[in-house]
Amino acid sequence: MRARWIAVLRTPVGAGAGVLLFAVLLLALLAPLLWSHQASAIDTEHLLEGSSAKHWLGTDNLGRDIFYRVLVASRTSILLALVATLIAVVMGLALGCAPVLLGRRAGRLTTAVVNIAVAFPGLLLALFFAVVFGVGAKGAVLAIGFAGAPSFARLTQTLVAGVAERDFVAAARIAGVGRFRMLLRHILPNIAEPLVVNATIGAGGALLAFAGLSFLGLGVQPPVYDWGRLMGESLNGIYVHPAAALAPGVAVVIAGLAFNLFGEAVAKGFGVPAMIGPRLRERSAETMPAATDDDEAVLVVKDLYVSFPGPITPVRGISFTIGKGEIVGVVGESGSGKSLTALAVAQLIEPPGQVRAAELSFLGAPLLGRLAVRSTAAARRRLLGTSFAMVFQDPMTSFNPTKRIGTQLAEGAREHQGLNRRQAMARAIDRLRAVRVPAAGRRARQYPHEFSGGMRQRAMIGMGLMGAPALIVADEPTTALDVTVQRQVLRLLETIRTEDDVAILLISHDITVVAQVCDRVLVMYAGRIVEDLPASELATGARHPYTRALLAAVPDLDTPLEEPLAVIAGRPVDPAAMPSGCAFAARCEFAEDRCRSEDPSLVSHGPDHQVACWNPQGTAAWQARYLGSESIRTGQL
């Protein structure tokens, strides 16, 4: 919290605005003490004079020095603006929080009242109140305060509603926390920042409004004076002595800017988290061989690194190849780098993220590196557009909610395949049918919200099938779906593979999902592949302690009920503090000194089976050592 305020003051705008605001407030505090005598001294010999050495900005109709009057007026102007802001904030908070305190029915009434009040223009409301409360400083303060309240109330209501539907508020209600306590302890602290920011900006607005009212003669009355009144008084002589009218105007502008800029700087500082570290420039990748010797390979990844400024490297040198029509699963905990691998393959890592690889080629064409010729860049885009498909986890957010499903499917085909509108739409309907969306023709004209989660995921896969894909990268495609629907989607992927010979890279945190549909499984831990094995061997032949622990940790319908579930002790490795040895050593019960000092690399253990472990389990050597001991530690609390 404090760190963020300091960070705000470190930005150029924040620092400038902070200094300006401090100066303005200091002036408001000190000017009347220092100069009120000069400001009220009547000099009958110099009435309505222009600027001179004695009177920098000239004099008014009683011969008083306008420069000093502007300085001294700062206290009245700023004080009144702040009081008006205070009224607006307090009233706004009261109105905005009322729905929480009063319950549903009365709350709805206050919301309606606020909604109506917001519809009136603020200045009109201020003029109205100024007439009601009578002409004078008090009336003007009340008027501006009340006029500012509705918008503040509206903001509070919105923020409160956002926080109130979060689970911790529900949890507090269940715990028996009363409404008032709920407001003070849970709601207000969580909305304080935007409110403070808006109050600061509001103070600038109040200052301006006050100047306006005083200028019109509805604000402070003689003998008290503020910037608005000074401006009004000097207006008659504006063609003769412009400085006298402009000076209070400039003062209003400076003070208003101080408040507004400060508010903006704070808003920026609290709204968007500042980026850590220097922004790295994207380097072109190392030189890559143009094509692979393996014709069957759809995707070749060699030594892939993904790094972010910090510097952290969540993906640390992974290599794998996907053949034609092969389904390869990638499993691991969150933070293991599996999704970043998928994004890197799909060319979706945004700067400042950086992708490096010894080779990253798709259908024999390199994906990384700057291309000299423009036509090859276009060719690469077309290749990715037609032969490569991506399916994301959340089918709710991967479609544009304002466009029909059919149109969204057709878009890509028109772009990459040069079909006209009708042909593209026909193809879209055909593809929806291919992914077994019932009544495809009718559903193509529907919007995403009319689709259920499972159907939307099918449509997403259908979108990938608009071209003739050679590879579908599916990043947790079933995680947001129910078990029965999940099975449908997995089966659909399997069918597509069989029918169209499409290779699929399936990313999942759920090892049972991967075991069900994949040919080969890559187990990732801390940005590395720790085991690469055929899915059929997963249940019996896994060698890496982590793979075994993952398998044991997932309860299935045969898990013994009387024993505690197996757990993996400890926490995943922090990518910013990677240990020197095997990343899993700290959580591994078989870890030895060597594991903590040397990082094991992937070593072949039989056909199609690779393990990165100094101490692979289930081997003859392992059995001799650990015979009789439990292979996986059954966790205690």
């Binding site: 507090a172 905990e333 997932v554 579930l565």
Partner: protein, 353 residues
């Protein structure tokens, strides 16, 4: 511990054409000291039922009874039911320390009640002491709860931001236990966690339940997880309980086709392929809860229903829920086995098969 009973509970949202009956006449009993596992897909009304039980949603009809007494909620009172939420990232106030969040749920006279007394020695006379003593007691109670869920007592000073997902969920459980609930409700408490952490949370829930003899409603979409913690399993589909029975019995001899489908979809050790269901209904879409099908609610997806077997037209018109009491596991399916003749007396039949 106490028995929680849902008696014909319905929850409706909205009015007119956009009305949605999320929970539709649910009868369910959580016997004292037992865990009832509630499974069903998203939108089946599981969470709405839980929210109705803890007073976050008002049932539009029916009653929720705790030991035979209807529950009534007023703001600011201790609630006999506590709930653990799905997402540990949003269920803890980011601006409050973990200790404050837990302390808030500790009842004012914590040291005089249930759990606190059993475990804390020499606290019986604390009731007469001053407020200062109460604050100390409260802090001690927070430390005790944190240790109960396997965290260090010093963690009380940490903010949720400094904790991992699994640790947060432990804190959420500690907070629920701080309220000294008669019944604990766990709503998908592991679905936001990594599999490696899910195990520790499930172990914790199970050992706490056994140690404290908690009555518990455990909600999850994952049948394997529910099986692991539950004594009784209830299956929910489109707002209704379609089958309920003792866990092992229900899993060994499922009656409702939906239960069978859930079982088929759940992972089993060593399965490497997907078992194909009947192609006619294989790609059926889940029903729209705004317009539930008439007759049997499951019939558009049912592999033994009218879409597959043309002679079963009664599924299209007759609601099987009415006769459910007569069938094994109170199954809402016309084709389920009948209840054994040695069935219990009629007054218990509603609560237990």
């Amino acid at each position: 511990m106490s028995e929680l009973r849902f008696d014909g509970v319905a929850v409706r949202f909205g009015t007119g054409g956009r009305a949605l009956t999320a929970v539709d006449g649910v009868d369910l009993t959580i016997p004292s000291g037992q865990v009832v596992g509630l499974v069903g897909e998203s939108g089946s009304g599981k969470s709405t039922l839980a929210r109705a039980a803890v007073g976050l949603t008002e049932p539009s009809s029916g009653q929720i009874l705790l030991d035979g007494v209807p529950l009534r909620y007023r703001a600011g009172e201790r609630r006999p039911l506590q709930m653990v939420f799905q997402d540990p990232y949003s269920s803890l106030d980011p601006r409050m320390t973990v200790g404050d969040s837990i302390a808030e749920a500790v009842p004012r006279s914590a040291h005089l009640l249930g759990v606190g007394r059993r475990r804390g020695a020499g606290r019986e006379d604390a009731g007469r002491e001053g407020i200062g003593r109460q604050v100390v007691d409260r802090r001690r109670e927070v430390g005790r709860l944190l240790e109960l869920v396997g965290l260090d007592a010093e963690r009380a000073l940490a903010y949720p931001g400094a904790l991992s997902g699994g640790q947060r969920q432990r804190v959420a459980i500690a907070r629920a236990l701080a309220g000294q609930p008669d019944v604990l409700i766990a709503d998908e408490i592991t679905s936001a966690l990594d599999v490696s952490i899910q195990g520790t949370v499930l172990n914790l829930v199970r050992s706490l339940q056994r140690e404290l003899r908690l009555s518990m409603l455990f909600i999850s979409h994952n049948l394997a997880v529910v099986r692991y913690v539950s004594d009784i399993i209830a299956v929910m589909y489109l707002g209704r309980i379609v089958e309920v029975g003792p866990a092992q019995q229900l899993l060994n001899d499922p009656q409702h086709p939906y239960t069978k489908e859930l079982l088929a979809a759940a992972p089993r050790r060593g399965t490497t392929s997907l078992q194909p269901p009947d192609p006619t209904v294989a790609d059926a879409e889940p029903a729209d809860p705004h317009h539930p099908p008439v007759g049997c609610r499951f019939h558009p997806r049912c592999p033994i229903g009218p879409l597959v077997r043309t002679d079963r037209e009664h599924c299209l018109t007759i609601d099987p829920t009415a006769e459910a009491d007569r069938r094994l596991h109170r199954t809402a399916c016309h084709h389920a086995a009948g209840a054994p003749q040695t069935a219990m007396a009629p007054h218990t039949r509603r609560t237990f098969p």
